[in-house]
Subunit: 222 residues, 2 copies
């Protein structure tokens, strides 16, 4: 990149960080635990949200902000599962940013909710650069994507608080070395936790639900 | 986006298009048929390249330009399969652009080769905006990604000349409606061809190899 372009990118990221910090304060005041859910296209973000809402919606009020290039498919699925959903269509932008989230937060009575899940655009590169102001960043990796992805997309794997390794029901049918994946991840992000699930069969979902519930409760007391 | 940012993006894309046109002329003069191979992370770009090289390297000289955020994994695999490979590490950039390709083309004796495969960064959004100057754009879709992807990533699906639908060996194990996928694609791109393959089992690969060989031969006579 030339110097002018580097300066412009830095300005965009600084402005984003400032608004993300505002979002973080807004969510804090509403005692609303929030996650930024990121992944490649088709890794299972919407399916994990559906499962999460089904498991938790009797005990917690859940708000979902869905980011997509086009369509309202994902927000429709979150609503059908029992969440309140706000759709953001980015119209071509490859990631959500803090301004989009700030506008979406103004559309909801945040105090009503216990959990906010932001479903980012399906992309393993660009969302890593844009803090949204959520409490935590969660990445879904997927067995058929292959075990080399932490090595190849380091900025994404470096910045997350939890990795949900989805589609483990496909392990018998594809080549995926869980140890190689784990080593690649630990080299970038030594303290990160991995939860293995299959959203399709339900395997491992209780670990994810427990993780989430522990975080929601801990956040309320801070 | 604000007006200043829109102007900057338009300037970047115009400059890219001009250099892409130069690349197209350079490749034309070398009689080198070329494809820009795009897909999500883990859809099977590198595996399709390995299979292609194995099937065609006795009859054709193949040059691969590999774009990755980090690592030389993909170029190493292309070389091991029998191609000449040039690695581009974008260092964080989410797509290849025409300047990167122009520089890579200067590193090879283009007249020696019959086929150039450019493996783009794994991303279903950003590469769609950057013409590289290749003869054709090919997209790999993957069964476990889900059948809704043409609807959700329209700019990518709209601009391609061929869709290779990979991992069809996983059809019994995931929910994927081939007709729904096909209808979504045809609404955006009515004339596009779909070739169904499994790079893992080899199913359907002969159709892909035939397609490619027909294009290589036709390009030579233009």
């Amino acid at each position: 990149m030339n110097e002018q372009r580097i300066q412009i990118v830095q300005n965009i990221l600084s402005a984003n960080d400032a608004i993300a910090e505002n979002n973080r304060q807004t969510l804090k005041q509403a005692h609303l635990f929030s996650i930024n859910l990121m992944a490649s296209p088709g890794a299972g973000k919407t399916t994990l949200i559906e499962q999460t809402v089904k498991h938790l919606s009797e005990r917690y009020c859940i708000l979902v902000i869905d980011g997509d290039i086009a369509t309202t498919f994902d927000a429709d699925r979150a609503t059908a599962a029992g969440a309140t959903a706000i759709q953001i269509n980015t119209g071509g932008e490859c990631h959500l940013d803090a301004v989009m989230i700030s506008k979406a937060l103004q559309q909801a009575q945040l105090e009503m909710f216990d959990l906010l899940i932001v479903e980012n655009v399906g992309n393993l590169v660009c969302p890593a650069s844009f803090d949204l102001g959520t409490s935590m960043n969660v990445l879904i990796a997927s067995i058929p994507e292959g075990h080399d992805k932490p090595h190849k997309y380091p900025s994404m794997y470096r910045g997350v608080d939890l990795v949900v390794l989805n589609k483990i029901d496909l392990l018998p049918y594809v080549e995926f070395d869980v140890d190689f994946f784990r080593k690649g991840l630990e080299a970038l992000n030594p303290s990160v936790e991995i939860i293995q699930v299959s959203c399709r069969t339900g395997q491992g979902l209780s670990s994810w639900i427990n993780w989430l519930e522990t975080k929601i409760k801990a956040y309320r007391t801070t």
